[in-house]
Assembly symmetry: C2
Homo-oligomer: 122 residues x 2
């Protein structure tokens, strides 16, 4: 059973973290046919942290997990920190396939999203 | 003449800033019919800063500018810092209409972008 784990940086500002949790809820409402298990997690400063988010997915029955970095740039968090945590967590669950998706700035849809955002205020 | 000014936070890591400049270049290649002037700028830590980005757009002939925050969450930078800088800059150019677009996490396309990113690694 496939899981999506949306990972944001985490903020001291509760509202920013709540926005990420809400995006995970909207994903759950719209994409459950493809990904029956969807959770949100954070690299730091907020709960749920990545290892606990992975555990949540597995407790819900996940056999494969896609960690989806909610980051715009390929900075240290995306290139080093998230992979390191995932690689440290993976051996605890040898039967679960855990992969990391590209960060969002890499998406071919980003241009369309940017122009759509710009056009909303015409 | 319409301009788009893509504004990211700015990083000490040159590569992150270069990624933003590259996205502006891709926008320029793909969206010049709708937005003949497109530049990138930064809130802090990198050049071009917002007031200089606005001036660049106007020097290129912009009569209206959409400032497009390349931010995922509605944190202080989006809610306070960018509007404050734009509001301080606007009076220098009374004939130019400067508006701020919503941040990216607000976009109805974000779910689609997230799922597309996840699907790339199936």
């Amino acid at each position: 059973m496939k899981a999506l784990l949306l990972i944001a940086h985490g903020s001291r500002r509760k509202q920013s973290n709540d926005e990420v949790v809400k995006i995970a809820e909207r994903l759950r409402q719209n994409c459950s046919a493809q990904y029956p298990i969807i959770h949100a997690g954070f690299l730091e400063l907020a709960e749920t942290l990545i290892p606990d988010g992975i555990k949540q997915c597995i407790d819900d029955g996940a056999t494969s997990i896609i960690v989806l970095p909610y980051f715009l740039n390929s900075g240290r968090h995306v290139v080093e920190d998230i992979p390191t945590i995932v690689n440290e967590t993976q051996p605890h669950y040898p039967d679960v396939d855990i992969k990391i998706a590209p960060h969002l700035g890499d998406s071919p849809l980003m241009l369309e999203l940017l122009v759509t955002s710009a056009n909303t205020i015409q």
